[in-house]
Amino acid sequence: MVTGAEGRANRIAIWALALAGLAVIYAPPFYLVAISLNPALQPGLPSLSDLSLTWYARLAHERGLVAALRQSAGVATITAVLATLLSLLAALAYQEMRRARSAWFLAMLLPMFVPGVIQGLALSVIFTRLHLRPSMLTVAAGHLLWAMPFAFIVILTSLGAVRGSFLMAAADLGAGWWRRFRDVILPLIRPGLVSAFLFAFLLSLNEFARAFYLVGRQNTLPIEMFGKMNAGASPTIYALSGAIFLVSMLCVGLVMLRRRGTGSQAG
């Protein structure tokens, strides 16, 4: 704490445990990234002189993975567009509510806790009964409620930058609801919308359990990868896993840096 009551020994112990916690999360994926730079067929840490992007170059030739990546990108785009729009509406509704707020918040958050396997199974059985063919849309239908709670929280947070006084001033000057939304709210929450879109995109791109039941002939990337991971050693899977992990990490990192810039304005 600011007062430094911990004492030196305790502070060291706390930092050690904190770093252990982070290592549990990050050490294995970074080890995987390191392995992916090893040109040898057997997984192992490469020596510094051996670093190579061989396996990354090979990725372009893996037809199955490329097709799956394309499918996943499509699903993730649909999911992200819908999740951002619906979450924006949900967040605006939250702002206008008084007593129903907590219930509304809970209703928007609850889908996050539905197990992926059960959500995917339920939707797929119903889609089959309705004779809906599996497609990007059916997978996106499964991903939407998984991505929405996160997008909702992000947009709700960014709405904190919209002070009541701004809206009152606009209303006093004769702006109607739509005008207040377009000219006051929207510019202030634009970074939040971008973050929500990116987060929803990543959640969909990396989702496995729901898609498992909802894909048709064309697998999404995680499902294709799951097959390869269990099919025995092909180091391209290390390269792809490493690349996806790093890109996801980078996206979230950038979003958080940007949010800091806008967060300080919000005070």
Binding site: A5, L17, A18, V24, P28, P29, F226, V252, M256
Partner: protein, 284 residues
């Protein structure tokens, strides 16, 4: 309030059509009868699906899932407390932001890839075994490190620890700094402050974090699929196995039991600790 109705319409529709309706349908179907002629179910009431849960040791998987969830939640809290304490009390603004990013990133990276990477780390020729042999602690590679309950637990903690860290951090931020200063002025040592002020005031966050991890583990499947041994199961994997032989009534019955348990946990948690209020803090 027609405007509010208009705004609410689409999100409500999405939740109803894609969430509530399919899950309620499955719940209803869990009480129907299996029809071997059509390979589907017909609307005659039956509890056969629920009866089958009690057979073939399936209920032990349910109990085991709950056990895994409780243990993982406890371990996650033990790791998340020092981490969030370090973020809130020991870090400057820059470092705090970096660490905040570090606990945010896992939500948006693939749990499949992260579980897979543990496979490489814990394997017979992986770095952990190599290190232990180097130190002379073990003569030959430990086999129980991978494809075991141990590996699954490690994977679960790594996957869901951020779910414990977030509510904990939010509740730490609400600890009034003047209480800590006052305690210190009155001569309380660090552990006394932790025990009498920080722990009680962050209890709602700790319970919320515990609940989140528990709920996520109950719904998890990837970690067991990637890291579990032969015959290892968890309730979602059991549903997959049951579906492989198209046993719809049983799959629906298991799903219903899980959904009811999860809903009860989240609603009870919400009532007791006002989960919603914890997140209604716009400062993050």
């Amino acid at each position: 309030m027609p405007r509010l109705l208009l705004i609410v319409l689409l999100p409500v529709l999405a939740v109803l059509v894609l969430g509530v309706a399919p899950l309620l349908t499955v719940t209803t179907w869990s009480f129907w009868t299996w029809d071997p002629a059509t390979y589907w179910i017909r609307p005659e009431p039956s509890l056969a699906g629920y009866g089958a849960i009690l057979e073939a040791g399936r209920w032990t998987v349910l109990a085991d899932t709950l056990g895994k969830g409780l243990l993982a939640a406890l371990l996650c809290l033990l790791l998340a407390y020092p981490l969030t304490y370090a973020i809130h009390f020991l870090s400057g603004p820059r470092l705090a932001l970096l660490l905040l990013a570090a606990i945010t990133i896992p939500f948006f990276t693939s749990s499949l890839i992260r579980a897979f990477s543990w496979r490489l780390v814990l394997g017979r020729t992986g770095p952990v075994n190599a290190f232990l042999q180097e130190l002379g602690l073990v003569a030959r590679p430990l086999d129980w490190l991978l494809f075991s309950d141990f590996a699954v637990m490690v994977g679960l903690v790594a996957s869901y620890m951020p779910f414990a860290a977030f509510p904990l951090l939010l509740s730490l931020r609400r600890v009034e700094p003047s209480y800590l200063a006052a305690a210190q002025d009155l001569g309380a040592g660090f552990w006394r402050i932790v025990r009498t002020i920080i722990l009680p005031l962050t209890l709602p966050g700790a319970f919320a974090g515990f609940l989140f991890v528990l709920v996520m583990v109950i719904g998890s499947s990837t970690e067991v699929q990637m890291l579990g041994g032969a015959g290892a199961s968890i309730v979602s994997v059991m549903v997959n196995d049951v579906m492989r032989v198209a046993n719809f009534p049983l799959a629906f019955a298991i799903s219903t039991v899980v959904l009811v348990v999860l809903l009860a946990l989240v609603l009870a948690g919400n009532r007791a600790f006002r989960l919603a209020r914890l997140f209604e803090d716009p400062s993050w």
